[in-house]
């Protein structure tokens, strides 16, 4: 534990005085933590509560924190106003498709980089690292033209297929780091038994790789789920929209006449935010591990 903020005891300060100032300091730290939590969670809680409010209620001055009643009907209406069920399905399909592709291809590629010697391996791996800093938007225009040429526009393919070709440099990097940490004796023993490269990967290494695979799956899920610019550009008809693009469409197409518009918008924001938050709560350990692995800290 870091002790940077534990106050220093000076010789001139009496024991009692030191204890009191120390307690005061702890009190200050707790207040700071509580205030920060409110600042960060507050907007979210406010939005969640607002999503249940009725028309006059949401515009009331002074605003009330809690809704008069939990109007679940807001959510029912939301699904009637726009095809949010469809957006949900699209988001799930794209996210799953991309995550499976990333897991498959990046595991195999990272395995190759970690366990096999071949001419040019160092340089090729430097290229992987270099693509980590490459902003994907830099190639947006020409990828759009490529997918247009292939006839993939307004389909899910541009959002899924590239992930089967290990375009996620971060996942390769993270998995390779993890492979390096697994002792080679295991592979060698299996090799002597006559197992092939893929057999070793599947039977010997994969079970040990589970934490890294979970982290990669989570980050891939978040990236696809939260992605806005790519579905915005590659998907053109409403029935193909993801939640992110659908929410933006809803924001600018809807009007107040339909009811408590802000309540609907907050409801839609909750719908899209809930899956990542639930995932985080379920898999917190892998999240933290993955972030730490990626930054190179041993923690």
């Amino acid at each position: 534990m870091a002790q940077a903020v534990v106050p220093l005891r000076r010789a001139s300060v009496s024991e009692g005085e030191f204890k009191r100032s120390h307690q005061l300091f702890r009190l200050g730290l707790y207040s700071a933590a509580i205030v920060l939590s409110l600042l960060f969670l507050g907007p979210f809680i406010w939005a969640a509560l607002s999503s249940f409010k009725s028309d006059p209620e949401i515009y009331r001055v002074p605003p009330s924190l809690f809704p008069d009643s939990l109007r679940w009907s807001n959510y029912v209406l939301l699904f009637e106003l726009e095809p949010f069920a469809r957006f949900y399905l699209n988001s799930v399909l794209i996210t799953l498709g991309a995550a499976i592709g990333t897991l498959l291809s990046c595991t195999v590629v990272a395995y190759g980089f970690a366990r096999f010697g071949f001419p040019g391996r160092r340089i090729l791996f430097y290229i992987v690292i270099a693509t980590l800093i490459l902003p994907p938007e830099a190639t947006l225009v020409t990828r759009f033209l490529l997918f247009r040429e292939l006839g993939w526009l307004n389909t899910f393919l541009p959002l899924i297929v590239p992930h089967y070709f290990a375009v996620n440099a971060f996942a390769i990097f993270l998995l390779r780091q993890f492979f390096m940490g697994i002792p080679r004796d295991l592979d060698e023993a299996a090799m002597i038994d006559g197992a092939g490269a893929l057999q070793i990967l599947w039977r010997v290494l994969l079970p040990q790789l589970r934490p890294a695979l979970s982290a990669v799956a989570i980050f891939s899920f978040l990236a696809s789920w939260n992605d806005f610019i790519h579905p915005l550009i590659f998907l053109t008809s409403k029935e193909n929209y993801t939640l992110a693009v659908g929410l933006r469409f809803f924001l600018f197409s809807s009007d107040r006449a339909q009811g408590p518009l802000e309540a609907y918008l907050m409801g839609a924001a909750m719908l899209i935010s809930l899956p990542p938050i639930v995932l985080f709560i379920l898999a917190q350990r892998y999240f933290i591990q993955g972030i730490m692995l990626s930054s190179g800290s041993k923690g």
Partner: protein, 303 residues
Amino acid sequence: MTQRRRRALTGYALISPWIIGMVVFIAGPIIASAILSFHEYNLLSAPRFIGLDNFVYILTRDPLFWRSVGLTFTFAIIVVILGLSGSLLCALLLTTNLRGSTFFRTALFIPSLTPIVAAGVIWRWLMAPRIGPINWMLDLVGIQGPAWFREPNWALISLVIVQLWITIGGGNMIVFIAGLNAVPTELYDAAKVDGANLLRRFRAVTLPMISPSLLFTLVTTTISALQVFTLAFIVTGEARGTPGGPAYATWFYLVHIYQTGFTNLEMGMASALSWLFFLVVVVIAIVQFMVSRRWVYYESGEA
């Protein structure tokens, strides 16, 4: 075939998906956009070679190019400075043996899980000029709140606030917590014996020890801040969804690329803009790594 050769061939076979993906989806598009940047292309007629015209136009006559560059850098610099120091302060707070620190960490982390579109929609409502809760609260203490994202002078600040809300408690904070936890306690004890006070210990022990984490977060945060786009679409998007408002106050670089390429269908011009973006990001990352040799401390002496 020798054993070594066989293993090399297997290695190539295993990384072949990446080689294909790299060529088709990354290197190919980069090269193609370099070529296309010397052409005029509007999707309807064939590309026409025009030499450096696109670049000359962008650098000398494009009324929005320099504006977008200035806005993007301003946004990135503010977000990097405030965001990183905010994350570091939160990490320091969460590593002081507070009871319930897991709860606090989760509370601070949740905004970073919120999709940017959702965060934007939420903050549009929080910062709504007349009826929003923020201006209502300001009103309570006698301050007349600005119109936030609807007012040109305040729009950029509004987006900075949303971006900081999303990022401060996120990945950077977790990286700092890990870095802080890895600092050996003996170093602090030694510094205390030498009579170093709180601030001095932070500067002489904490900062050097976490400097590798600082470098990592500095590079990734800078690059992602330069890519600001979605917020300018959602929060400062205007009627019918034109991004970058009001009065071009949040006309960021990617907004400029988007409008040039996908609204005005000037694909050659948009490619030229993309290439400039690519170059600038690479140069910034390299400079940050080079300068880091002066201030990043590696315990074992290796990078």
